[in-house]
């Protein structure tokens, strides 16, 4: 017996180098898809070969918002909906970092929707992973911007009557460089997608369709976490050629998965650098630029004396 215990203690978790083991067990319910999503994230980072010391993760608020607290990277658990602008600041201030945003559908598309479309528009070099469980889990099952028409939630007791967002459609239409959708059942492909995003420049968006056994399925008759995975298996198809704007998620249609967008377009910072360079090339020094350019604001600042340091 004593020997067995010793053997058990020697065993370490295979992802110990990237998880905060002193914070386990996590708070997520049994049957939740977040465990699979975090596993895919950790495996994806390993596969991508990025430096863990130079990788940061930013989360908002909610069930998925807790991911930052469990992953052993520089990790930031911010306010509700604001993970993307926070991550934008972090990335632009230190361009050597690989920055991931890991948050939920409510955080990123309801309260934080504006930030998502603008970060995609700017093509800021960050990677956004959105775990979509169709509902607000942490607060007890309220309606989300992703809740399918007709689905029940605690704030839609007669069934949801609001049109839901199609997340990949929004990301693609807003200008993201990389857009993919997987379910938590597609563990291997999801891992590959995360590895791709880690090494890809520009705004990368990955939607992870994830089961919520505790609130969404309880209100909508989906069964246990395993039942939901089986449902994902039967309902999902992979079609990389699909138009991301034409594949909304509903209660019973097929879940179209795949890598829908994978483009190379200049990032925010590349555009900034190119724009400044093209302006500066016209002048040999700052004084010349200040006195010649029509576009310089406040060039009328007058000096009392003419001294400037060097």
């Amino acid at each position: 017996m004593a020997n067995n215990t010793a053997q058990l203690q020697e065993k370490t978790h295979p992802m110990e180098d990237l998880l905060r083991m002193d914070r386990m067990p996590h708070i997520w319910c049994s049957g939740c898809g977040l465990g699979s999503a975090v596993t895919a994230f950790v495996e994806g980072l390993k596969k991508a070969g990025v430096s863990y010391d130079k990788t940061a993760i930013v989360s908002g608020i909610g069930c998925t918002g807790r991911v930052a607290g469990y992953v052993r990277l520089d990790s930031y658990h911010t306010t509700h909906g604001r993970a993307i602008p926070f991550a934008t600041g972090l990335k632009l201030a230190n361009r050597d970092l690989t920055v991931f945003v890991f948050s939920g559908d409510g955080d990123l598309f309801a309260i934080g929707g504006n930030h998502l479309i603008h970060a995609a528009r700017r093509n800021v070099d960050i990677n956004v992973i959105c775990v979509n469980n169709f509902i607000y889990g942490m607060t007890g099952g309220q309606n989300a911007p992703t809740t399918p028409l007709g689905a029940y939630s605690s704030t839609a007791p007669f069934g949801n009557y609001e049109m839901p967002f199609n997340l990949v459609g929004i990301a693609a239409a807003s200008g993201a460089s990389y857009v993919a959708r997987w379910t938590t059942m597609h563990a291997r492909r999801l891992t590959d997608s995360i590895a791709t995003a880690a090494n890809k420049k520009g705004f990368c968006f990955i939607e992870i369709v994830s089961p919520c056994a505790t609130v969404f399925a309880r209100k909508n008759g989906g069964g246990t976490g395993l039942d939901l995975l089986k449902e994902f298996q039967t309902r999902s198809i992979i079609d990389h050629e699909a138009d991301p704007t034409q594949i909304p998620l509903t209660m019973d249609n097929e879940i179209v998965c795949g890598e829908f967008v994978n483009e190379d377009s200049p990032t925010f910072w590349e555009n900034v650098q190119a724009g400044i360079k093209s302006q500066l090339e016209k002048f040999s020094n700052w004084e010349e630029m200040q006195s010649n350019s029509r576009k310089i604001p406040h060039k009328t600042i007058r000096k009392y004396t003419s001294s400037r340091d060097s």
């Binding site: 520089d74 930031y76 658990h77 934008t88 504006n114 930030h115 400044i276 700052w286 000096k303």
Partner: protein
């Protein structure tokens, strides 16, 4: 070649631009903002100046994002700033609380305009003073500096960065549209003559580092993203490891520390200017632009033989409680002219001795105090009314 663009010398300069130049002189290399009158000139100046200094300027989609963004940049180890006015501050407030909780150094400029709501976009007031202190929910210590001229807008911006770095929190500069849009002589010293304070980085090994461990000064050592510490930080109540801990014990250690790290250093933070305080019967307490508009009233009162002292608060928060308490034992009372309907006067009342009178001279903003009103108040206090 474009790095030669750091200014020094004497300039005829707008307040908002002096603020931007002060930030650059202090080492600010990240600005995130959103256009708003009367603070837009700060963003415009930063948009022009930062790229030439290898800094980052980003015009965010709103003020909420701007505040979140400068916190992110702060964690990357870069001095960061945003500038806005009342409506923008209202939007930023939640993330200002995050900055207080995470203890992220940064500077928030509020070029105050008349409120509430959209109020007087192109005109001034001092009606956000209490918002600066209590705006975000929960208890925390905060610092607000109030300039009364473009020169001081420059100087106090440098000071604000120093305080934010030293005490690890978002620091407010509470200017107003009058100071922001005023153009005056501004002297910018060579950068080596400025006192610049940088945050204290940890020298601990990665395995020994606790992001919220603190010493006597109650201020944790900083580690920036990408340095291998792989720490966690959160807006939740957290322990020294930065991990969420929803217990009374943890709350009771963290939140009083956030208040006391400012309170305990009030002697360092509190900046005031005073004239003729000794032997005064009446002391006029003012801050920001009001401190200039009340000067004629003080001169007139003196001509009338009233012993008037002048106390100007450059640091409004933390409030100089002890100073006011001691002064109140010696004087008949205080006159507090401010461009709001009674905010800092409440603080003076709170701190003043029971026997001393505190007279508010209110003003809703959009114009300046009539000197007769201030003079009348001085006379009333001098006569014990």
């Amino acid at each position: 070649m474009f790095q030669k663009s750091r200014l020094h010398g004497e300039f005829f300069m707008q307040g908002d631009i002096a603020c931007a130049e002060g930030a650059l002189a202090a080492g600010c290399r990240f600005f995130g903002g959103y256009p708003i009158t009367p603070a837009s000139e700060i963003a415009e100046r930063m948009a022009y100046r930062l790229p030439l200094l290898q800094g980052v300027f980003i015009q965010y989609e709103d003020e909420i994002a701007s505040m979140a963004g400068i916190l992110g940049a702060s964690w990357a180890g870069v001095k960061s700033m945003t500038a806005t006015s009342g409506p923008g501050i209202s939007l930023m407030t939640e993330n200002i609380g995050l900055g207080m909780m995470m203890e992220a150094p940064c500077v928030v400029v509020n070029v105050q305009r008349g409120g509430p709501s959209t109020g007087l976009p192109t005109s001034w007031a001092q009606s956000d003073m209490m918002q600066a202190r209590w705006g975000s929910h929960g208890d925390y210590g905060s610092i607000s500096l109030v300039p009364n001229s473009p020169q001081e807008f420059f100087d106090l911006t440098v000071t604000a960065f120093n305080f934010s770095e030293k005490y690890r929190l978002p620091v407010f500069i509470m200017a107003d549209a009058l100071v922001g849009h005023m153009t005056e002589k501004v002297v910018i010293p060579p950068v080596e003559e400025l006192e610049i304070i940088n945050r204290k980085y940890t020298n601990k090994k990665t395995e020994d580092y606790l992001p919220y461990d603190y010493g006597k000064d109650l201020i944790p050592d900083f580690a920036k993203a990408g340095d291998g510490y792989r720490y966690h930080t959160t807006g939740l109540t957290h322990d020294k490891r930065g991990y969420p801990d929803m217990t009374f014990e943890c709350q009771n250690e963290l939140v009083p520390r956030l208040v006391n790290k400012i309170k305990n250093h009030i002697d360092d933070i509190s900046l005031t200017e005073e004239y003729d305080i000794e032997g005064a019967d009446v002391i006029v307490i003012s801050y920001g632009i009001t401190s200039r508009t009340v000067l004629p009233a003080i001169t007139m009162a003196k001509k009338k033989g009233i012993k008037v002292g002048y106390l100007r608060l450059k640091t409004v928060w933390p409030f100089p409680e002890e100073k006011i308490r001691k002064l109140s034992e010696k004087v008949a009372g205080f006159v507090v002219p401010e461009m709001n309907l009674g905010q800092i006067s409440l603080e003076v009342e709170r701190c003043a001795h029971n026997d001393s009178i505190v007279k508010l001279v209110p003003h809703p903003g959009g114009a300046i105090h009539k000197f007769e009103d201030v003079l009348h108040a001085i006379e009333e206090v001098a006569h014990g009314k």
